[in-house]
């Protein structure tokens, strides 16, 4: 079994079972304690992934570069899969798939005035690393051709690097990332996003 690329699937496999196990387990069970930081990480990463998918939706109408459209399709598929993994993991650990903090950090501005689903274009303030601002998203929507291609790649690289920063922060949080399936999932997210960053750097048009 290898721990990259398909760990989203690994996590799917492990986490999709219905056993409702929450937080601290006796050491004898072998299951590591799940912390509030683990749960918050998964909730925020769902919101983070949603913006990446939103960006890929723009591709087919704004560029003719098939390599970019293909890349976008792959990003969309992998991030959608990973959102499923995260949702099931959260359900299994008795947590909601979103939270007030994730909503706020995803760009709703003040939670008190936000309502409805998280959509990046509603962005005002951005607490999660790498999230594109409302201004960046607007520029991306308006752009076409080479300008769009450059903005998309720069934006998605920024976005992916933010996800890596989120993983790094989780690993540095005391007590976090001990549960086997979560630990493998974050390694997978990291490996996938790194690979995509490297691929995107090679695709940036030279000006």
């Amino acid at each position: 079994m290898y721990p990259t690329r398909s760990l989203r699937l690994a996590a799917t496999v492990v986490l999709s079972l219905a056993a409702p196990v929450l937080a601290a387990q006796p050491a004898a069970s072998g299951r590591r304690q799940v912390t509030a930081a683990d749960i918050q990480f998964m909730q925020e990463m769902i919101a983070h992934h949603n913006q990446a998918i939103e960006m890929t939706v723009l591709l087919p109408t704004r560029t003719r570069r098939t390599d970019l459209v293909t890349l976008g399709a792959r990003i969309s598929i992998s991030q959608t899969d990973e959102i499923g993994v995260m949702r099931r993991w959260l359900a299994r650990h008795g947590a909601a798939a979103d939270s007030a903090s994730a909503h706020a950090m995803a760009g709703h501005g003040e939670p008190a005035v936000s309502a409805g689903p998280v959509t990046p274009e509603m962005s005002g303030r951005h607490g999660m690393p790498g999230m594109l601002t409302a201004t960046q998203m607007m520029a991306l929507r308006k752009a076409r051709g080479r300008t769009f291609e450059r903005l998309f790649l720069q934006g998605m690289i920024q976005h992916h690097e933010g996800a890596l920063a989120m993983v790094k922060a989780l690993m540095e949080t005391p007590g976090a990332a001990q549960e086997s399936a979560l630990n493998r999932f974050v390694n997978d997210v990291s490996a996938d996003q790194r690979a995509e960053i490297a691929r995107m750097r090679r695709l940036i048009p030279r000006t």
Binding site: V13, S180, N187
Partner: protein, 592 residues
């Protein structure tokens, strides 16, 4: 790199064409997994799943021991059974929660000798003399084997790397060494020093994110272009003085993916697809597993985006001599040499072992084995082998760990396919591998994909041992069939080793015996390598010699050898007749 890639991909295309061409005449050459195979429609269940078995007998099954599974969750990742190693009468099963030692002196009745908790995954094991080696890669791994986990990115209690236990007292393993590495140890491979049996090297394949430099000094995660110390794009080599395992340490970090001309660290496959309709292959920045074959001085690295061939005559400084890609491969996972070193089989772990990749819609060349001819240290693509039966969406299935079965004169292997079960197949003809036997259970959870199935299936001293991720230990025995006779099975059983770490391949040598001779005769009969009348006459001579003793037996055998030498000159399968003749001469010389 470019030159090599072009060469390989055009060769791979040629091989695909061959595959297609042979489909019409060969039943095994199918384009998609079969849904009429009995393995496709088995009833599921954890410990009561329906089984399908062909040309094998399941002689024993043992569930995972108490404390090594979660009764509420068959697929709990924290208790996954992983790889197997063997020493004497013991089978060692690794796992995410620790290791188990099973006494298999009576293979049909394995008894648990010890279940030793030591969490940290994957827990792959090897044994060398009195030392047991264990791979550790999880963030929660502790130096002291404790189950309480490790907090934060920097913590002196964390252990990721290779543990070394002294198992002189099999009931009380003592951790006597522990070598930390920057990406942990996903797998490892032992390589005894050819000049000093008191030293063993460990090739470490680490696949995790690079650790925080505060957690382990020297761990750098920079861009390979500017950071010559990056912990990616290398393997780690540990040198272990067997008498002083506490002194084990990393002695080299070979850049085995470097560009031959420029020495750039990142010199092999950069990740991505190979064109329309091809697989997306991972970047080559790590090895997943390395199989060493000291008898020929080579190792095969299954290294994420490439298969590589290493010269290992200087164990601390392996040198890459060839590399291949395959546009069907997603992730190069493991490798097995044919016994004569003329072929090399690589496995692709498409989907990471946790995906259902044997569905009726999946290509027979994806998530499969790719077989290469090995000539003058160059790899030349031949054919692919995949589990012929389709599996359900609820069954994780892809090529995984296996080993050779020592049938003389043929290349036969047993291999684990996760919930696809285990498959025994012949790749003597590398363009047309064919299945001989199988064993499979229905899905562990028919409702949804739940991790289970065979992690490893290895031959050891006459039996096939399977490490089942969610179900425990299985022991199987081959049954004769038109594709494999009792003589061939008995000849395989005549090869006995003191121990086995399948990633350290040992050369198979068949001591001359009547059963080995008859195995060759059976093969000549099956393949029409000699006229039927000669087959009958040879069998009669062997039968007569076996009844005789002393000089009379030697005389009968020498006469037979002379006849065989003459027959070899005219035979369609000259090599096999010569091998038979050599066996008969050996028998005659033995005087028996």
């Amino acid at each position: 790199m470019t030159r090599s890639l072009r060469r390989t991909s055009s060769a791979a295309r040629a091989c695909l064409l061959l595959f297609v061409a042979s489909a019409a005449v060969h039943a095994q050459a199918q384009s998609k997994p079969s849904i009429t195979d009995p393995r496709f429609s088995l009833r599921g269940g954890w410990n009561d799943a329906q089984e399908a078995i062909s040309n094998l007998t399941l002689v024993a099954h043992r569930n995972r021991p108490d404390g090594f599974f979660n009764p509420a969750d068959a697929g709990d990742f924290a208790f996954v059974n992983s790889d197997l190693a063997f020493d004497g009468k013991y089978a060692f099963i690794g796992g995410y929660h620790g290791f188990q030692i099973w006494d298999v002196s009576t293979p049909a009745s394995p008894t648990l000798r010890l279940a030793f908790p030591c969490p940290g995954g994957q827990g792959d094991l090897s044994v060398y003399r009195n030392l047991l080696f264990m791979s550790v890669e999880e963030n929660k791994g502790r130096v002291d084997c404790g189950a309480q986990g490790v907090s934060g990115a920097v913590n002196a209690e964390r252990f990721m790397g290779v543990r070394i236990f002294d198992i002189s007292d099999i009931d009380h393993p003592r951790q006597v060494g522990a070598v930390q590495t920057c990406r942990g140890s996903h797998t490892h491979t032992l390589l005894p020093d050819p000049k000093d049996p008191g030293t063993v090297y460990v090739y470490v394949s680490g696949t995790n994110d690079v650790r925080n430099v505060g957690d382990l000094a020297g761990c750098s995660d920079g861009d390979p272009k500017s950071d010559s110390a990056t912990a990616r794009f290398r393997i780690d080599v540990i040198r272990v003085p067997v008498a002083a395992p506490q002194d084990a340490r990393v002695v080299s970090r070979p850049r085995v993916f470097a560009d031959r001309r420029t020495n750039a660290i990142r010199g092999l496959w950069r990740g991505g697809t190979h064109g329309a309709g091809t697989q997306e292959t991972a970047e080559t920045d790590q090895c997943h597993d390395i199989t060493v074959y000291p008898a020929i001085g080579l190792a095969a690295g299954a290294c994420s985006g490439n298969g590589i061939l290493l010269d290992i005559r200087d164990p601390a400084n392996p040198r890459r001599v060839d590399e291949v890609i395959d546009p069907n491969f997603a992730y190069w996972h493991s490798a097995t040499f044919s016994n004569d070193g003329s072929k090399l089989l690589f496995s692709d772990e498409w989907g990471g072992g946790v995906g259902a990749k044997c569905r009726a819609t999946d290509k027979m060349t994806w998530g499969a084995n790719a077989i290469f001819a090995l000539r003058n240290r160059k790899l030349i693509p031949q054919g692919h082998y995949k589990l012929p039966s389709a599996q359900k969406e609820s069954e994780n299935c892809v090529a995984h760990n296996g080993s050779l079965i020592p049938v003389p004169g043929r290349d036969i292997m047993v291999q684990a396919w996760y919930q696809g079960g285990l498959s025994v197949f012949d790749f003597t003809n590398p363009r047309k591998p064919v299945e001989i036997a199988y064993f499979d259970r229905g899905p562990i959870n028919p409702a949804e994909l739940t991790l289970a199935g065979f992690w490893s299936a290895y031959w050891y001293n006459g039996y096939i041992y399977g490490s089942e991720i969610g179900r425990g230990l299985d022991v199987l025995e081959l049954k004769p069939s038109p594709m494999l006779t009792q003589n061939e099975i008995d000849a395989a059983k005549s090869v006995q080793f003191a121990g086995s770490n399948p990633q350290l391949q040992q050369q198979l040598v068949w001591a001359p015996s009547f059963v080995v001779a008859r195995a060759y005769v059976d093969q000549l009969d099956r393949g029409n390598g000699l006229p039927a009348a000669q087959i009958t006459s040879i069998m009669a001579s062997l039968g007569m010699a076996e009844q005789q003793s002393g000089d009379a037996r030697a005389a009968t055998l020498r006469a037979l050898a002379t006849r065989l030498d003459r027959a070899a000159a005219l035979a369609t399968d000259r090599t096999r007749v010569k091998a038979l003749a050599a066996t008969v001469k050996g028998l005659a010389a033995a005087g028996a």
